[in-house]
Symmetry: C2
Subunit: 260 residues, 2 copies
């Protein structure tokens, strides 16, 4: 009875969610010194889309974003932050979805109503999430055919304003480096100072001076140096660090030290 | 024919705007070393509300926010920035507006439809604006009886989640001091270093060291020192400064110097 379920869910999408407003999530992971983002491939087989969806009539924005994040990654309790609402009146009109949806739901009695609803004007609230790359099990949804990581330096064709949503998410991340700590969910549990620097350099898209970086990072007092050094390698073994969870959380709430 | 106009406008509110989504604006001004915010007094004669309104079906978020800002302040081309969307499912349900609206529109044929529309769940997108206090001519709207400035340290009773919207706006402003310039629309054209420091201290809610403040502000390279000093007063005449418009705009776009 898969068909019946699809009919019911199509009807439910309209009945159970708020009209005109959606959520899109830029899910970032850091792997082998590259910043990656999770994208879904559309049924047109050429364009990609950010994971996203609608807001239940009784759901808060954060509940909806967490539900959508879980459904694409299998992860819970993830660093997830709202960053901007996108509301250009034309943003959802420029796409080929009408034809594809008509095809997909040709025999569904709610198809027409659903297509009008979903292709109307939507304002979308952008969230970004920082996840541990290795823990994610990407899953696509019923409107897409694939879900996988892409290097942010090499993005594929994106629908609507999703390119601009990703750029704004990255800009926000870069600004937040100046008042909030970052890295807890992007790096392994233990890391070296050069590994932490590489994360910052990747996010900022520029190289940083090694000594200044170390001095500034240590001044934040969110790092704990471990008694053991990283073993192996031809060079002097580097110190291992981990984030001090308590100071990290405090800095996340109240800002880094040495700010205004 | 004022009555007819009101009937038409009530119907038009529903027909011309997006459902479920609104805008609220925290309009800040700086006067006599106090940070003030523009609020509207509700018809219940006891609670106050942020200026706000709906988004036209063909309007972008920024166009709607600018229109609403102009209608309350008479000002155009103001520093206006989106900062957060507020979407608690209960946020618009906790108020006395139903009774007051029924009274206000007792004889209006669209009253019932309008009341249901306006008292349904709304997600609101928060903007903040920084305005020159002396240039504002506060104007209330048809749902309120007064519009005036309040000290942010001494806020009156506010409806719904407006207290929390103001607190989030202030928190955002404080964070942005760490990567963006501020002051161009809050201070007079020419000002002294102590006056600029007082603005920062008021926004941050704490006192700052005079020499560190001056050193840090000058390092941003957005200030121009004028050849004339402030005259009058018993003490040594302080230097006058103004913002260098070009560097200020550049810092607003790309961030202050000396960031990550």
């Amino acid at each position: 009875m898969a068909k019946d379920n699809e009919i019911i869910s199509l009807k439910n999408v309209i009945e159970d969610n708020l009209p005109s407003i959606s959520i899109d999530i830029a899910i970032f992971g850091f792997h082998e010194n590259h910043l990656r983002i999770l994208l879904l491939k559309n049924k047109d087989k050429e364009s990609w889309t950010l994971p996203g969806g609608f807001i239940g009539k009784e759901e808060s924005l954060e509940e909806a974003a967490n539900r959508l994040l879980f459904s694409r990654t299998g992860l819970n309790n993830i660093f997830l932050q709202q960053f901007h609402a996108f509301g250009d009146p034309e943003r959802t009109r420029i796409n080929k979805r009408a034809e594809l949806l008509k095809e997909q739901y040709a025999k569904d009695q709610y198809a027409q109503e659903f297509i009008e609803w979903v292709l109307g004007r939507f304002i979308t609230i952008g969230f970004y999430a920082l996840v541990e790359f290795t823990e994610v099990e990407p899953k696509h949804d019923i409107f897409t055919i694939e879900c996988r990581w892409h290097d942010v330096q090499d993005l594929p064709l994106l629908v609507s304003d999703h390119q601009s949503i990703i750029e704004t998410a990255l800009k926000t991340l870069r600004q937040q480096l100046n008042y909030q700590p970052i890295g807890l969910s992007l790096l392994p549990h233990e890391f070296t100072m050069p590994e932490l620097q590489r994360l910052y350099e990747t996010l900022l898209g520029k190289t940083l001076d090694r000594r200044n970086f170390q001095r500034k990072m240590l001044s934040y007092k969110i790092l704990e140096r471990l008694p053991t050094k990283r073993k192996g390698g031809a060079y002097k073994a580097p110190y291992l660090y981990r984030f001090d969870k308590e100071s990290y959380e405090e800095a996340l709430q109240n800002g880094l030290k040495d700010l205004w």
